[in-house]
């Protein structure tokens, strides 16, 4: 039993961020040390929670000891623990890269905002209350607004306004949906909803279905599903590279919320909603997958290419999510792990390249970049992972996705395979432009500052991808048990101890 440790992933970053803003203003070295230490501690806590969730099953934490459904609960189960480990591991790579590349010194409060972002995302993964999920969405969004415009610049600020506006509309939609859900059920605790919805009066079914569509729209905005993906390319391409890498886990919050609501609150066997969630997501995921792949062909800069590749991989992840069976959800979780790490790696590589080139456009002639061999190898690895070529985990992930859609092979297989091919062409074109094309001038590039820590972070992500590939067997076994737990809602509901006074 983990007791109070369940709330530690929310409280620790919040405290650290607050102390940083108040007491460490202007002292970058101290901020860096504190930030790395806090993220290491977060990693340790997340791993411990993962172990506890594996051994014990779902466990609830009652804030202020108010009984559910009247108080707010955090619920730790295998899925939320897994997402916490993914989040904290990615945060470690991102913070090391930010320090190594000097990004964190280009504006005030980078580390504090990063900690607030971690607090919001960890809270969104842990919470067992739908309104609390909205609050944590806002926490992570407001931190991401600050990070998005970190370093300043006209294009970045205006891309930031679009990002904020899009997400504010999403937040309003979320509130409309929550109000509808509360109006028909009288509760917003997820476990209580799951217990009450099967007995929903027939007259309220239409209202509930409207609420479900709005909720899915909100999660689709977060997860950048077509037709709600417009904010992503401009935001990710204009955000600092290191921030875009951290944002790779933010789209997964949308996928996580869809999974949580689609399995616990609106499971496929719920009469009121039926396969509504799946029927909305499946076509959107296919179009997202295709559109992202076409986008990689048309992208003019490397960060945009990375953004479109990220959209495409979200399409693949949502495709596996949309099937909503225990087997396919395990595949979706594997692909979410892979996609987060690979997208983050690609954004870090894009940042390494962009900071060494005088030209943003890939087609523009530019002197060869420094460290071209090392960066080229990283680019190749990330391209192989994103496009789904062997030997990296993208291949295993896509193979598993194809395998789960055997019965719809005529529709799904061509889209996935052609999209992978298009991404391959896009990456090959970008790579040969950036690393092989004839140089504009023969002058040697100025040797940049050595960045051992930045390369360590990028290679660390690559090593994690390789580990995910080599350990694919044990990992998928664990994920299968995780997804089986998702489809047996009783444990999650029982952990909330509904209607039992202390």
């Amino acid at each position: 039993m983990m007791g109070h440790w369940i709330i530690a992933p929310v409280v620790l970053p919040a405290l650290v961020a607050g102390v940083m803003v108040v007491a460490m203003r202007g002292d970058l070295i101290l901020q860096r040390v504190t930030s790395v230490a806090a993220i290491l501690a977060l990693n340790a806590i997340a791993v411990a929670l993962l172990w506890a969730a594996t051994v014990n099953g779902p466990e609830a934490y009652f804030l202020g000891d108010w009984p559910a459904p009247f108080g707010i609960v955090l619920v730790l189960d295998r899925l939320s623990a897994l997402m916490l480990v993914l989040l904290s591991g990615l945060a470690l790579a991102v913070v090391l890269y930010a320090i190594g590349s000097g990004w964190d010194g280009k504006g005030a409060h980078f580390h504090a905002l990063l900690q607030f972002l971690l607090m919001g995302i960890a809270g969104a993964f842990l919470t067992g209350d739908a309104f609390n999920l909205f609050v944590f969405f806002e926490v992570l969004l407001i931190a991401s607004y600050g990070l998005m415009v970190h370093g300043g610049g006209g294009a970045r600020t205006r891309a930031g306004i679009q990002y904020v506006a899009f997400n504010l509309v999403g937040s309003s939609l979320f509130l409309f949906a929550l109000a509808l859900v509360y109006g028909v059920t009288g509760t917003l605790n997820m476990a209580d909803l799951a217990a009450k919805l099967p007995d929903l009066p027939a007259g309220d079914v239409a209202l509930l279905r409207v609420a479900v569509v709005m909720l899915i729209a909100v999660f689709a905005i977060k997860g950048a599903l077509v037709p709600l993906q417009f904010w992503l390319p401009g935001t990710y391409a204009n955000a600092p590279g290191v921030v875009a890498a951290m944002f790779a886990v933010m789209t997964k919050v949308g996928a996580y919320a869809t999974l949580r609501f689609g399995t616990l609150v609106f499971p496929p066997d719920l009469l009121a909603t039926g396969d509504l969630v799946a029927s909305l997501i499946l076509p959107a995921a296919l179009v997202t997958l295709a559109l992202g792949a076409v986008g990689t062909l048309g992208a003019t800069t490397l960060p945009r290419l990375a953004a479109f590749a990220g959209i495409s991989s979200m399409g693949t992840a949502f495709l596996a999510v949309a099937a909503f069976t225990p087997e396919t959800t395990a595949v979706a979780l594997y692909y979410i792990l892979h996609s987060t790490l690979a997208t983050a790696l690609l954004f870090l590589v894009a940042d390494l390249v962009s900071r060494r080139r005088s030209q943003a456009l890939m087609d523009a002639a530019s002197p060869p970049i420094a460290d071209a061999g090392l960066i080229g190898a990283l680019f190749l690895a990330s391209a192989v992972a994103m496009a789904g070529l062997p030997p990296l985990s993208g291949f295993i992930g896509k193979l598993l996705v194809l395998d789960t859609f055997r019965d719809q092979a005529a529709l799904v297989w061509p889209v996935v395979l052609v999209a992978s091919f298009l991404m391959l062409v896009g990456f090959a074109r970008a790579g040969s432009r950036l690393f092989w094309s004839p140089t504009a001038s023969q002058s040697e590039p100025a040797p940049p500052e050595p960045e051992p820590l930045a390369f360590c972070a990028a290679f660390g992500l690559l090593a994690t991808l390789i580990a995910l590939t080599l350990l694919a067997g044990p990992v998928t076994d664990w994920l299968s048990a995780t997804s089986a737990q998702l489809y047996v809602g009783q444990d999650y509901i029982a952990a909330n101890r509904l209607g039992q006074e202390e």
């Binding site: 280009k106 370093g151 504010l168 109000a179 109006g183 204009n238 943003a360």
Partner: protein, 124 residues
């Protein structure tokens, strides 16, 4: 009363969406504000409309649902903070770009044409 509240929410939402589609930052902020007013009223109404009832069980025959009131309070605070952030960013964007259009077609569309190429991109 139900019809009045429902149409009020509808009008506020419509005004908000119309203003948001104006593609300029000031109407956008106004539109988002209208939308948040609409959603706050909608949240409030989700606890059913009651007149002259205290949010306490047991003191009278009818009572007002207190939970939506707490939710609305949270939503108001959050939307207020978000609007402030958006306002600051809109002012920053306006000062840097010299206009408040929200279109973003190309990363270097704003760069003056007479500058050397390497300054067009926001090189960190």
């Amino acid at each position: 009363m139900e019809a009045l509240v429902a149409s009020l929410i509808g009008v506020l939402t419509a005004v908000g969406i119309y203003l948001m589609l104006r593609r300029r930052s000031f109407p956008l902020i106004l539109g988002l504000t209208f939308l948040s007013y609409a959603v706050n009223l909608f949240l409030f109404a989700s606890g059913r409309l009651t007149v002259n009832a205290a949010p306490i069980i047991g003191t009278a025959d009818s009572y007002a649902d207190p939970l939506p009131q707490a939710l609305v309070l949270t939503a108001i605070v959050i939307s207020f903070g978000m609007t402030a952030v958006l306002m600051i960013m809109a002012i920053g964007g306006h000062l840097e770009a010299g206009h408040d259009r929200l279109t973003l077609d190309h990363p270097d569309e704003d760069a003056p044409q007479d500058q050397p190429d390497d300054q067009k991109w926001d090189q960190p």
